[in-house]
């Protein structure tokens, strides 16, 4: 734990204007008298002793996080073979490896799945295996040129065989993130993990008050050139990450680091079932305590970091929110969703976040790590736009048809007659308030007549798959195909029937599109 030395206290109190520079801090690191606290220790100190004391006593705080960060990968240079090859297609352990540059520069994308093992093994796992010192199999083909005559190569490689092995991630470390739930009546598999139906669980991501960007929300000390802990080695922030959205307090960073120095403890391949493969990245940022303003910022607590509760069951870009929670509530393991308390857990590793803060603190105290002043801090005014889509997306509302309905107490014969008159295949069963109670198909009726069954209530199918008005046609037709059914009642939030979507209507649209 932390203990301020007298000598150090005197030194810092001599600092004029209550300011401190990165150069001064580095000097202290060199002299072995730098005062470093993990971000958690610093928050406690500010709380117990106040901003002024914390500023005087502390030079640097260490932050950290470790989570699934899909927009990651590693740049490798595999060297030239004899005769040389200009790689056209490449695979490592059967994972396709893009080659966005010249002959033997490859980029291992974390989310690309193996051609033989699918999501179970992907680029993230390749990177982990290489970092762990394992041998991987490279296979490459080429069309052959005058200067690069070779057309095939197969070899095994370890990280020692690579000229460069650079972790190069274009978006890491979201400042904070949404809390995911699922309002559908089936489990769904997302990048936020497995979500049980009817809001039965919730997941969140991020380390909350340990997260680097949360503790420097105006990016006063963080930017291009900031030296960081990356995957157990040193790395650098090389700018804002893609989708950096500072105005919404959703900043991101782009990072690079020598992967040969890293350890698999902080770089792990992973699989989100039915979603894809990815990689867990652990990184930590030292925040220099340059002034009292920074002390106030790093004092932020979990309860001050909000997270929107979002229904990932809604297959639209704008899912709206069901409410807002904060990281303090999330870390208790239960969150209130629609007035109900449900179990919630993180998909990021809090344990590793703490470990990174500790490890980076040790590095600085042992003078193994010096701070840098960024050449340019992260932008605070960029905006994050949605995709401009020039082709039309169709939604259920554009194809909804009028539903033929009946009530449970009706006679089978009467319903059969209605189906014939309206020439439809199914009637939706509703109650007096038009709420969905089930569905009966012409086939159910035929079978019941054959069995001498006259009561409608005995043949109603009560487990009904439904569609929503603003749902894309694509997801609704996938639901029909998945469950081998030909129609979906369209319902509103209160389960009231608005109409019906039939596979016939979809086929007509597709058919019409082809001829028209």
């Amino acid at each position: 734990m932390y203990a301020a030395s007298r000598r150090n206290l005197k030194l810092t109190s001599n600092t004029p204007d209550k300011k401190r520079t990165v150069a001064e801090i580095n000097e202290k690191i060199r002299n072995g008298d730098v005062q470093v606290l993990t971000i958690s220790e610093m928050k406690d100190l500010v709380e117990s002793s106040g901003v002024e004391v914390a500023f005087k006593e502390v030079d640097v705080v260490t932050t950290g996080t470790m989570g699934a960060m899909c927009s990651s990968g590693a740049l490798i240079n595999v060297g030239h073979a004899d005769p040389p090859i200009k790689i056209d297609k490449a695979w490592i352990n059967d994972v396709p490896i893009p080659h966005p540059g010249a002959a033997v520069d490859l980029y291992i994308g974390a989310t690309i799945g193996s051609e033989t093992r699918g999501f179970e093994y992907g680029g993230g796992h390749v990177i982990e295996d290489l970092i762990a010192g394992k041998e991987v199999e490279l296979r490459a083909t080429a069309y052959g040129t005058d200067c690069y005559p070779r057309t095939r190569v197969e070899t095994t490689l370890t990280k020692d065989d690579l000229n460069q092995f650079i972790l190069l991630n274009f978006r890491n470390g979201y400042q904070r993130y949404a809390t995911a739930v699922n309002g559908r009546d089936e489990a769904i598999y997302t990048y936020m993990g497995k979500l049980l139906p009817n809001f039965r669980n919730a997941t969140y991501s991020g380390a909350g008050e340990l997260n680097p960007l949360c503790n420097d929300p105006d990016y006063e000390t963080i930017g291009l050139g900031t030296r960081i802990f990356l995957g157990g080695g040193t790395g650098y922030i090389i700018g804002e990450g893609t989708q950096h959205n500072p105005k919404a307090a959703l900043g991101t960073i782009m990072v690079k680091g020598d992967a040969k120095q890293m350890t698999p403890e902080y770089i792990r391949g992973a699989t989100f079932s039915e979603y894809g493969s990815t990689i867990y990245i652990g990184y930590g940022v030292p925040i220099p305590i340059l002034n009292e303003g920074i002390v106030k910022k790093v004092a932020i607590r979990d309860e001050d970091i909000p997270s929107d509760i979002v229904d990932y069951g809604i297959p639209r870009l704008n899912k709206g929110t069901l409410g807002t929670t904060n990281y303090k509530e999330l870390k208790t393991g239960r969150v209130n969703v629609n007035g109900k308390s449900v179990k919630v857990t993180s998909v990021s590793s809090l344990k590793h976040a703490y470990k990174i803060c500790e490890e980076l603190k040790d590095w600085i105290q042992e003078a193994k790590f010096y701070l840098t002043k960024p050449v340019e801090t992260l932008p605070t005014d960029t905006v994050f736009k949605p995709m401009k889509v020039t082709t039309e997306t169709r939604f259920v509302e554009s194809l909804i048809g009028e539903a033929v309905t009946c009530t449970e107490d009706e006679d089978v014969k009467a319903v059969a007659k209605r189906l014939v008159e309206e020439s439809v295949n199914q009637a939706i069963v509703v109650d007096s308030a038009n709420e969905l109670k089930g569905i009966v198909t012409a086939w159910d009726i035929t079978r019941s007549v054959a069995n001498g069954n006259k009561r409608l209530e005995d043949i109603i199918v009560r487990r009904v798959y439904t569609a929503r008005l603003h749902e894309p046609l694509e997801t609704a037709s996938k639901r029909m195909a998945d469950h081998d059914i030909s129609a979906l009642p369209v319902v509103d939030k209160g389960n009231k029937v608005l109409g019906i979507l039939t596979s016939d209507a979809i086929s007509r649209l597709v058919g019409g599109g082809a001829t028209g």
């Binding site: 497995k194 989100f272 857990t345």
Partner: protein, 127 residues
């Protein structure tokens, strides 16, 4: 545990009888029943488990005691993605935020909800 009821006994109120006789709560996680028989996935308090299983068996119910779930700590990265799925609180954090599996609480193969939620394939069914 998974309780299987044959056609002959499915119409008897066996579960409620046992709840009353053994004075133990039985939490029904899911049930599928019709005239031809059915299955109930249920959890029972650990201390009464043996007694309750015996009672069900004596009434002709086939009891499938869960095969267990195993967690490989070397693979696990303590992300916690599995915890919120567990209806039994068998998965949880220790004080240092390591994720642990308490096999005694786990319903094993009859549940298995966490297995495909594990991002590291660290959770496996023991057969």
């Amino acid at each position: 545990m998974l309780l299987r009821f044959s056609r002959q006994i499915v119409d008897q109120p066996i579960t409620s009888q046992i709840i009353l006789e053994k004075k133990t709560p039985i939490n029904i996680l899911s049930a599928r029943m019709n005239q031809l028989g059915g299955e109930i996935l249920a959890e029972i308090p650990g201390d009464k488990a043996q007694e309750v299983i015996k009672a069900f068996k004596s009434k002709g119910v086939i009891v499938d005691v869960a095969s267990l779930i195993e967690k490989d700590d070397d693979l696990c990265i303590d992300c916690g993605a599995c915890i919120s799925l567990c209806p039994m609180d068998a998965l949880g954090f220790t004080e240092d935020k390591s994720v642990t599996l308490d096999a005694k609480k786990c319903n094993g193969a009859t549940c298995g909800l966490c297995v495909d939620a594990c991002t590291r394939r660290a959770l496996r069914l023991l057969s």
